[in-house]
Symmetry: C2
Subunit: 451 residues, 2 copies
């Protein structure tokens, strides 16, 4: 089947799903859960093939340890938690049919804005095989069709999971072509041209992958390329909170996009707060790259950190770098405005935090910083769909339209305006004799099922 055919089949499948009830979509998710349970051994055998190849590449230095780890579906409860994820999505409220605007335009002329699926999604990701299952669940729950493109490292796992999903869908009312899988890299560039059929691209992967996709398509792209988060230690920061929050934001999972990369500290608390912050970081193996002012204070307080090479001078590029590792850079600022300006210029609009006991300063920071997440006294690591209470996430968006921050089911929906009339024409409205005026009164309906 050509890629154009795949995309057209996906579009047709999207049309068919629109006619299904919430129960019918949920039933498909239950069937996927059941099939995953039955096929566990098969899938893990396929994953073992991928892992053997990956371990060879690891030994040859051609694959990173962290990628190799992400590929592995066999560890502890990973398979079970993937399965549970399908049920978790199934148990979320239906995101479709909600009315967000209802207006009586005139007697017998009612307008409703109703949430509906976006259409055909193209999801491009790298290693993790379980993403196939996560994204499939979210797409079906939200009434979208999806074309999935995974990394070649996980080909066997990916095929096995795809077979499980197809088997489940064949028993459900969701058409088989609602979830399709493609492999080679060439296919991506061709799919990116099919804006007639594909409504939204969601890339999950490296900065390079995302940038490359954005440069090569007219289809809207939702996601994030870089995650450069900052924490600002304000002059009214509580010392214990500053130490704990910077430490957790950096070390809880340094490779995550919501880990902190830059710490800004106010001049007036440099002597009082910075040594303790630095000590805690360095004790956890973090390399701290400082501007001159912060280096002087830290080096004096922690000569052993200078000796061990963990305390360093920063270079200008550090303030535009997502380290994704146990490294962070530090800059001293003189004011809240300077901190906000630095973040808006160098940050990636992902998640930024102020540490302060001063409410007015916190409000100014949260209003002034242009980011998907603006935090007051909380770790940047909270930027996550599960922690936000969405159940799960499709990804995190640093876009400034449609969905921003962790994207759950709602990020996969849009709305349509439904107008119910009794033959009204526009020519009857306006000014002058015999013309009607609009009423524009709010209506109470909250769900399309009430209409």
């Amino acid at each position: 089947m050509s890629l154009k055919e795949i995309a057209r089949e996906a579009k047709d499948a999207f049309s068919s799903i629109q006619a299904l009830s919430s129960e019918e979509r949920d039933e498909a998710l239950q069937l996927i859960f059941d099939e995953l349970k039955t096929a566990k051994n098969q899938v893990l055998e396929a994953n073992t093939l991928d892992m053997e190849a990956a371990e060879k590449l690891l030994a040859e230095g051609k694959m990173s340890k962290s990628m190799c780890k992400r590929l592995d579906l066999r560890v502890s409860e990973k398979y079970e938690s993937m399965m549970q994820g399908v049920l978790d999505v199934k148990n979320l409220p239906d995101p479709l049919g909600h009315i967000s605007y209802a207006n009586k335009i005139d007697d017998g002329l009612e307008l409703y804005r109703v949430s509906c699926a976006v259409g055909v999604l193209l999801v491009i990701f790298e290693a993790r095989p379980e993403v196939v299952v996560n994204i499939t669940s979210l797409a079906i729950k939200s009434g979208n069709a999806v074309i999935l493109k995974g990394g070649k490292e996980s080909t066997h796992s990916f095929d096995a999971l795809s077979n499980v999903i197809r088997k489940a869908l064949s028993k459900s009312k969701v058409p088989l072509d609602a979830v399709q899988l493609v492999h080679s890299r060439d296919e991506v560039s061709q799919l990116l041209q099919l804006d007639e059929y594909i409504d939204l691209v969601i890339p999950r992967g490296s900065d390079t992958l995302v940038k490359n996709i954005k440069n090569n398509t007219k289809i809207p792209v939702l996601g994030h390329s870089k995650g450069l988060c900052s924490v600002y230690v304000h002059e009214d920061a509580d010392l214990d909170q500053a130490v704990k929050l910077v430490w957790d934001s950096k070390t809880n999972y340094p490779a995550a996009c919501n880990a902190v990369e830059t710490v800004l500290i106010n001049q007036s608390v440099l002597e009082s707060h910075f040594p303790a912050i630095t000590k805690k970081l360095i004790d956890s193996g973090v390399e701290v790259r400082c501007d001159d002012a912060s280096y002087a204070v830290a080096a004096k307080a922690l000569p052993e950190a200078v000796a061990s090479g963990k305390l360093k001078h920063s270079v200008v590029e550090d303030y535009d770098t997502e380290f994704s590792d146990l490294i962070l850079c530090v800059k001293v600022v003189n004011s809240l405005s300077e901190a906000i300006q630095h973040i808006n210029l160098h940050g990636s609009k992902h998640t930024d935090c102020i540490i302060t006991t001063n409410e007015a300063a916190a409000k100014r920071f949260m209003t002034g910083v242009d980011a998907a997440g603006v935090y007051w006294n909380a770790s940047t690591r909270f930027a996550d769909g599960f922690r936000y209470g969405f159940g799960t996430e499709v990804g995190i968006s640093t876009n400034k339209i449609h969905a921003r921050g962790p994207m759950g089911l709602e990020g996969l929906t849009i709305y349509k305006y439904m107008l119910r009339g009794h033959g009204q024409i526009v020519g009857d409205y306006g000014v002058g004799p015999g013309k009607r005026s609009f009423k524009h009164e709010p209506l109470p309906a909250k769900h399309v099922s009430e209409l």
Copy 2:
């Protein structure tokens, strides 16, 4: 000033506006209204210069009559209604600061999703000079900065209006650079590259203009290229409604994007309904292009229409054409499914209508048609921000993300997640001894002013 500087200034202006109150933004709108009142003669003199050039081009056949008409600010109440538009926008509720998700993650850890401005808008439009004032009002009200690029036909009017706006802003707290104007066509292609500073492009103009913009930028584009709306006359259509709705949808303003271009009619009401529908259209000067089945019925009933050349055979391209004129094409279908399929394949996802007294059929149509507006027994011409009750509109979007259909102030906003903690770190949550669980309880706040 280079274009990059213009864009950077706009970004800075956006940051400054975030700190302003609703009252301060409204005050700027009042000042613009006042200055427009004072400068009426100056602006109309500038418009006369544009009109003189336009009339010359019109005489030489280099400009269309409709474009010439759109340029003219001097006719009847056009200037006053432009002025009134500024006050109308001022009087709308503030779109910023609304909370659409509020969740207690844990004791003392509260998450709010708060509406905020998108950033820097680039609005590209063709003739109408009053668009400068409309868009400026909407941008300021919603806390965005805007770079405006108008057509060269309206250069003088545009400069005059721009001076009025700058004079007004210089007396307000909104920075001057929040509204900037650029002229030449070259500038557009350069601006489209500045994705670092510009957050959203809104083109208002021809299909060619919009397509060209989409092909040349990584910045998200909101708007519509084509407006190909369809009306389906179902087998249970009321005859009078069918005649009136098709007629209004076509003739009320044929150049509008929400005018109907294709009429689908069910086989079973072809004999009973189609002659009257056609007669009413032809009496209003519409050219009706029919497929074989509908031609046979109409030609038999209306031999005079054949003689006058207003009743014609359609060609296959007609069903993909936005005529923007007193022309429409007709196709006979055998079922509701066939009508839905035709619309999803040939329509532009703008606005489509079913005429029927059958509720089940109407619901199937409104669920199955993938368009910004799905109508039941109402003219497609209702697709408009004012008629929808938004006060005014920035444009109409056929996009399937962010904003769809008429875009008012809400379409110019996005949200940010604000998290208010007391030093919570992610490492404290999870499973195991001493770990905390998330509470995820809804919170009641509806506006950021309540926090």
